[in-house]
């Protein structure tokens, strides 16, 4: 099994080097509004869910971008737009030089191979009526990657062992496996098409701590082995820190902060990022006892009716009058550290 262009030096410490690599995926001004409709024949849009509201970022080859934020802030939607499971309302998604948004279904097909996905729920992301081996083999068959059945089988077994699964498991059904095993099958399926880019949507959130660590290690290994690029969507900040080169923090459809991983964690600028970090309890009673426990007030507002100005202002400790009316731009405060806040 070989894959072209496997980056050699992709450990966390190599982040800055990666920054210099070529841009694989570029998201520009992505907006995804879901209409809230009424009526069945005469659909009338009465409101819009601004699930993603004008975000831009780019990901370089071999890089892992983390996307964090609270539930409903648009992380999954961003991922789905990149996967072209959702046609964005506005914006561009440029992958390997081609704007995916402009392509029709047929032109998209060869590109689909290159962008794969790993889902959160290991229970519902595998077709319960197919054997796991077939699940992994099917994409290869459809794309004609391995037309020969025995070779295909061989490759499925290879993929299984790459993902830490015994090749004997190919004729089991998903329900005959544990959650961790299923997640590995999901990963094997994503790998089967030799992708360049994988969207991991909460790929480890549903797993138990002990299993979670296994899968994180696997993802890391695969990244190194095949030079993969990840968009790593998660809400567990410590996992994101462990795995990502850069991290984007989303709040209510917008990116509020984007920086190199260490920079972000060591030196969070946006009040929301700070609140997030403060809220994560650390598994050490001593440290916890010393830490001040300041929590951010209030709940996440509805994306149907987001607050005016800066979307975070109702919960923000730094909020001033102008936050209520002015939408802050993403500013590059330090090289590579972008923040959407006027008060820092």
């Amino acid at each position: 099994m070989s894959m072209a262009g496997a980056a050699q030096d992709t450990g966390p410490g190599a982040a800055s080097k990666v920054r210099k690599g070529e841009v694989l995926l570029q998201v520009k001004g992505l907006k995804m509004y879901f209409p809230v409709t009424e009526g069945i024949i005469f659909r009338k849009t009465v409101a819009q869910v601004k699930a993603v509201d004008g975000i831009s970022f780019d990901i370089r080859k071999g890089e892992t971008l983390g996307l964090v934020g609270e539930s409903g802030c648009g992380k999954t939607t961003t991922g789905r737009c990149i996967l072209q499971l959702e046609r964005p309302t506005e914006g561009e998604i440029v992958f390997a030089g081609q704007n995916l948004v402009d392509l029709d279904a047929r032109a998209l097909r060869p590109l689909r191979r290159k962008i794969q996905v790993i889902f959160q729920d290991p229970y519902s992301s595998l077709n319960p009526r197919m054997k796991t081996g077939d699940i992994v083999a099917e994409p290869m068959y459809v794309h004609g990657l391995e037309p020969d059945a025995t070779k295909r089988e061989q490759r499925v077994k290879e993929l299984f062992s790459v993902c830490g699964l015994s090749p004997n498991l190919t004729d089991r059904y998903p329900h005959e496996m544990s959650g961790g095993q299923r997640q590995r099958v999901g990963i094997a399926r994503a790998l089967s098409l030799n992708p360049e880019f994988i969207v991991c949507d909460e790929a480890v959130s549903a797993l138990d701590v002990s299993i979670q660590a296994q899968v994180i290690n696997l993802l890391e290994d695969l990244r190194e082995e095949f030079g993969l690029t990840y968009l790593f969507i998660a809400h567990d900040l410590s996992v994101v820190r462990h795995l990502c080169h850069r991290v984007a923090v989303m709040y209510l459809g917008k990116i509020v902060e984007l920086a190199e991983c260490d920079e972000l964690y060591d030196n969070p600028l946006h009040p929301y990022t700070r609140a997030l970090l403060a809220a994560v309890p650390v598994p050490d009673p001593e440290i916890e006892a010393k830490r001040e426990h300041q929590t951010v007030k209030g709940e996440v507002p509805s994306p149907i009716n987001p607050p005016s100005g800066c979307v975070f202002h109702p919960r923000c400790p730094l909020a001033v009058d102008s936050c209520r009316s002015e939408i802050p731009d993403l500013r590059e405060l330090k090289p590579g550290h972008w923040v959407a806040c006027t008060e820092v």
Partner: protein
């Protein structure tokens, strides 16, 4: 670190244990006693239908006026009817008609519904809307007039009866299947299939259809029962299979009208046969539903 270092989990080799056959059967019977009773009835019926010639003591169609209205007894276990025909033999042969009508109508109806329902859920939009409206029309339409028209236009006969019965099944099944399929369409594995760039047909046939098999199977068993009953009702209204063919509804038609009192065995036994058959299929279908629907399973 290389791939070979990834540790293979120690549990992996553990064989999937499946309960051995006879034990599984007994277990099922214990778990679904009513369902087992239903399955038994169904099996008996199938047996009767297949081996009717061998089991039935008399020709089901031969008139024998010397024996007309013989009450149940040693010679005719269930008695004879107005033409002196052996009721037991007619019931045994009638199982064939009932099962034939039942199965063919159920399978065609449910399959039609399956295809329409899944396609409707998958494509959504206008396609869904139009299919839904058409289904509404058929759902709302009185069965009897549909049946009457079909029989009148195409002429009577068992195949026409089947068509008449099948038509209302399609929207019924489509509805149920559609609602399951709608849920399935939102499943990540369907998204995964789309992300892999599979064709619509492939996603529908390989990824959606197999996952709505549970409602489909449940609908089929329910439909067999319904079809048997409908066939009887149509026969009662004079639209079904015709004399001298042995069919339960037909036996009941004349029997229930004229001989309910003086020769009660004439209507009672076919009535029981119908009830029992429908009962059996329903029990079986219920158990199947319980077994297939984890939400209902008694843990």
């Amino acid at each position: 670190m290389t791939v070979s270092d990834v540790r293979i989990d120690p549990d992996a080799e553990r064989a999937v244990e499946r309960t051995p056959r006879p034990a599984a059967l007994l277990g099922l019977i214990a778990r679904y006693p009513l369902g087992a009773a239903g399955a038994f009835v169904v099996l008996v019926m199938i047996f009767a239908a297949v081996f009717a010639e061998a089991i039935a003591p008399y020709d089901p169609e031969d008139n024998a006026f010397e024996y007309m209205f013989t009450p149940p007894g040693a010679q005719f276990w269930l008695g004879t009817d107005d033409f002196g025909r052996d009721i037991l033999s007619r019931i045994i042969h009638g199982a064939r008609t009932a099962l034939f009508v039942g199965f063919v109508a159920a399978v065609i109806g449910a399959t039609g519904g399956l295809v329409l329902g899944v396609a409707s859920a998958y494509f959504g939009g206008w396609f869904d809307l139009i299919i839904q409206r058409v289904m509404d029309v058929f759902m709302a339409f009185p069965l009897i007039i549909l049946a009457l028209a079909v029989v009148a236009v195409l002429g009577p006969g068992i195949d026409k009866v089947i068509i008449a019965i099948t038509i209302p099944f399609i929207p019924q099944c489509a509805r149920v299947v559609r609602s399951s399929a709608l849920a399935i369409r939102e499943m990540p594995y369907v998204d995964a299939a789309r992300a892999c760039g599979f064709s619509h047909a492939r996603i529908i046939l390989r990824h959606m259809v197999p996952n709505v098999m549970a409602p489909y199977l449940i609908m089929i068993t329910a439909f067999v029962g319904q079809a048997i009953l409908l066939e009887a009702v149509l026969a009662f209204l004079g639209l079904g299979v015709q004399e001298p063919t042995a069919a339960w509804g037909l036996m009941l038609k004349s029997g229930a009208e004229e001989y309910a009192e003086s020769a009660p065995w004439i209507p009672i036994f076919p009535g029981l046969a119908i009830s029992l058959a429908v009962f059996g299929f329903n029990l079986f279908g219920d158990a199947l539903r319980d077994a297939l629907d984890p939400k209902l399973r008694a843990q």
